[in-house]
Symmetry: C2
Subunit: 240 residues, 2 copies
């Protein structure tokens, strides 16, 4: 027995709705627990301690068996998300899955570095901008980049407003070798107990158009600007 | 003077709305004229001979100067589209642009091969499925793949229905080394003179959800499924 992983939900296959792997079929493993509490968190059911009783401690083999059941035993991209998956012992799951042909991408804010980041196929570092209310520990963030080693590493930054945008430009300038994905924020995230809550899609689309115009006006052509497709297609509904 | 390029429109920067380079800032150069006439063509203003008088013959240097004016003289991704850009003499434009740091992606159905495909950064081959009413010349298509040489080559296939989907699976199986992007078709393309025509976005979104479900049910995890973001964000409006 290895240390158990605290799992909020395992679902899919669906497509990755955002970032560098947008559109790719994937199974999501969402872990429970987070060292952050972003003001606009869209996954509070995996963050808020009130939901801790829903996070099942699972052995890596059990997690992988559930992924395989969902994928029909075909190797697929597994997306590790949270919460902050970096606070979970995911190394054995990744090792076991890769041996069977699964690929692994992980999304984390970059507050906790783990040596098993190097075993990922992609590390998505998503430092939280000022609107989140969080403060980035840049030493920890850089430890994450270093831990990734040869694993493909990209930045994904959620943008709500001009202050976030200017911050993203600074962050990107600090790490010029990392590809940058910008994503308009959803100001209508679901309350943790209500995934039928409606989304102000018109407002999110307007922010997306503003973000495209902002990037273009700045001549920031190295940035990629992408929405959250799953929100467009399925709203705040969970499990898709 | 080299042979002029017949240009329907040059616009941007905006983001690439679809396919492998989705979300990347780009300037579009849309050429006029096409050897196909797809039933659901969304760019008839660059295809229908009635609009031929709007296609300006331009020297490559003039095209590049206009791209540079739009991008503020900063190198950017240039997307060559049409119509079928492969029937235009684009080699000198690509050579001149690359010398100045511009990158070039081209979208073509794969009916006409050119030796300058090898100078592209990306060749997007978009063979037309049964719903288009067109028949693919596979010898010509394979000549396009061969002409691309070392240039990154991907497949993008528009899907309207089950017959298109099954066809796409066959095409993908025939070219296992080429990444495949699937895209739900827009059954409400704009009439050529009316870019304010409304889009049945709910219908297109439903087709996108169906396509995701179809791919997942088949376990076709190597496919990437992406919508046309520009249609979601800007409808049928041209120049964005």
């Amino acid at each position: 027995m290895t240390d158990p992983i605290r799992v909020s939900e395992i679902f899919g296959p669906t497509i990755q709705g955002e970032g560098a792997l947008i559109g790719q079929p994937t199974v999501f493993v969402r872990t429970g627990g987070c060292d952050y509490r972003c003001s606009w968190c869209d996954s509070l059911h995996a963050v808020d301690a009130d939901y801790r009783h829903t996070w099942a401690p699972m052995q890596p083999g059990t997690v992988l068996a559930e992924v395989a059941r969902l994928s029909g035993d075909r190797p697929i991209l597994v997306t590790l998300s949270g919460g902050n998956p970096a606070i979970q012992p995911l190394g054995p799951l990744i090792e076991m899955g890769r041996a069977q042909g699964y690929r692994f991408a992980m999304e984390t804010q970059g507050s906790v570095a783990r040596d098993w980041f190097a075993e990922l196929d992609m590390l998505v570092l998503s430092p939280k901008p000022p609107s989140s209310g969080m403060a980035v520990d840049w030493a920890a963030f850089e430890a994450c980049i270093a831990a990734a080693g040869g694993a493909q590493t990209v930045l994904k930054i959620v943008i709500f407003d001009e202050a976030d945008y200017l911050w993203a430009r600074e962050v990107a300038a600090r790490y010029p070798t990392l590809p940058v994905y910008l994503q308009p924020g959803n100001h209508t995230p679901p309350p943790p107990g209500d995934d039928a809550a409606s989304v102000d899609q018109a407002g999110v689309d307007a922010r997306m158009r503003w973000l495209v115009e902002r990037v273009v006006a700045d001549g920031w052509f190295a940035a990629t600007v992408l929405p959250q497709l799953h929100v467009t297609l399925w709203g705040n509904r969970r499990g898709v």
